[in-house]
Symmetry: C2
Subunit: 314 residues, 2 copies
């Protein structure tokens, strides 16, 4: 195999699976691998990364750098992680350990940040400088890109908009202890809770006893009022929160990603409507709210681009 | 006069007065001037700038650059201003016109942005990289500093948190047409309105028929319930809005400036209390909320520092 471009490895470590891609600096995926995440086995997971690279048949010598995204807080300078609840890691020096093992420079960051960066490089925000990429799944996360780079804020706490207080007097109790975090009012979990609450109160609905989020969106398409109300509630708080953040940040684009975004216009349109209702005319005119594009590949693209821009600066 | 440091001119153009300072690159004010703002007289205002410099006795030859802050939107790259309502300017090329007149490089920006930058250089946020500086007066504005520089956002709309929708269903009508903007719920005007509304409804209070904001704060100190309630309402929305923004930006510091901040702890403390109630523990622990320090000089310090960092990059 003759390759004339620089190759990078992007790794997206999730609670259930590891995704790994070999991607060139023009954004072409050369190879892709996936495996289950070994739980609470740090060394074994590093070995798995090496195996997955070897299985592609591409030699380590051809790899210029490695980017990794993990689901939690990262000390980006040191490449260390204090606590990765979903994976069971505590106090690991991921960057140093992997660099020692492979002899290739490694750059580590948070997965939501890298998803946002991936979209800027090869996705829905291509070429944009300042964006917010919100991920709506069982929880809510976000990555903020400023001037084309990940914005971390103090102690990497930027983008924690899952805990933005959106309904702080009357909302639901969040795991963090507060009331009415965006996550408790607008996540996939929240949509299910709204629908089931109404169903359990005897409101007429076609929703089953044990629905998935997709069931709610399907029911809404059929005109089910309970389902439509549940989606509308979530969209109201999302549109409001994104409007609030945009009055501070004035981003070029807002990207909607994560499991809930698979409902496409069904979630995008009401978010846009509420954003418009709550925002200055000038912000409405200039802020594009669109679906994220890269889906499961956002993390590996972002990890690779993060390696490219950080290693080139050295 | 022998001067061994580089000298800059900082100009803070307001709706009522022009403040001008000659400041060296170590942050020492060498001379200061103030005059009334000529309304709707662009050329006359430029001449006034020149006069004010001449009156200091410092020769134009000694000035390395000029920074100017204006109360409105600026095209920062071109140094042009489309519409400056408070001063009566339309479609002016301030940077070009002044550079032609004086032969010295000019950098123009918005006044709230420059106040924030001034605080980072010589005030309450000295040395910080990422801050929000909110100005609470008859309206509410803010400047956002990211990575030590002014963050403008798309079309310079960043920091428009006066119009952040904080009480969008039940709030007061804003000049912008929306309901419950932060400005209608938490400005000096809002505090007066809360107090007068209660007084006019016959609630017992020591507040006079035609109070100033200072009267409200004085009455609150004497234990007046109407006054305390008015301040508490404003602080509630300020604490909530700053918490919302901080879940996105995770700033190192939040600075409270503007006329209302002259009430010091009387406004600062309840803002901090509400921020704490609505924020993640980690954000509470790391976010310092403090009073701005430079008061009327923030604008000229910021204008000079903006000239220093931008002209040095050329």
């Amino acid at each position: 195999m003759f390759i004339d471009k620089n190759l990078y490895v992007g790794i997206d470590l999730g609670g259930t699976s590891v995704k790994l891609g070999i991607i060139d600096d023009a954004g072409n995926i050369i190879a892709k691998q996936e495996a289950s995440t070994p739980r609470q086995k740090y060394e074994e997971t590093l070995d798995l990364f090496v195996e997955l690279i070897q299985e592609t048949g591409i030699s380590l010598k051809e790899i210029k750098g490695i980017g990794i995204g993990v689901p939690g807080f990262v000390d980006v300078e040191k490449g260390t992680i204090a606590n990765l609840v979903n994976v069971g890691w505590k106090n690991v020096s991921l960057k140093d350990d992997l660099e020692k093992k492979l002899g290739i420079p490694v750059v580590v960051d948070n997965d939501a940040n890298l998803a946002a960066l991936g979209e800027v490089w090869q996705g829905a925000a291509r070429g944009a400088k300042n964006i917010i990429c919100i991920t709506i799944g069982t929880g809510i996360g976000s990555g903020i890109i400023i001037d084309g780079k990940i914005y971390h804020g103090k102690n990497a706490l930027a983008g924690e908009i899952g805990h933005l207080p959106i309904n702080p007097l009357k909302g639901n109790r969040c795991n963090c202890g507060k009331l009415g975090c965006l996550e408790t009012e607008s996540s996939a979990t929240a949509i299910l809770n709204y629908a089931l609450r109404d169903k359990n109160h005897g409101v007429n609905t076609i929703i089953s006893d044990n629905p998935t989020t997709k069931d709610i969106f399907d029911a809404a398409k059929s005109g089910d009022k309970v389902a439509n109300e549940a989606i509308n509630n979530a969209a109201y708080y999302l549109g409001l929160a994104l409007s609030q953040i945009s009055h501070a940040l004035a981003p070029e684009k807002i990207l909607i990603g994560g499991g809930v975004s698979k409902a496409k216009e069904q979630i995008l349109n009401p978010i846009k409507d509420y954003f418009q209702q709550f925002s200055l005319t000038e912000l409405n005119e200039q802020t594009e709210i669109v679906l994220a594009e890269l889906e499961n590949d956002a993390g590996i693209f972002g990890a690779v681009y993060n390696a490219i821009i950080n290693l080139d600066n050295r």
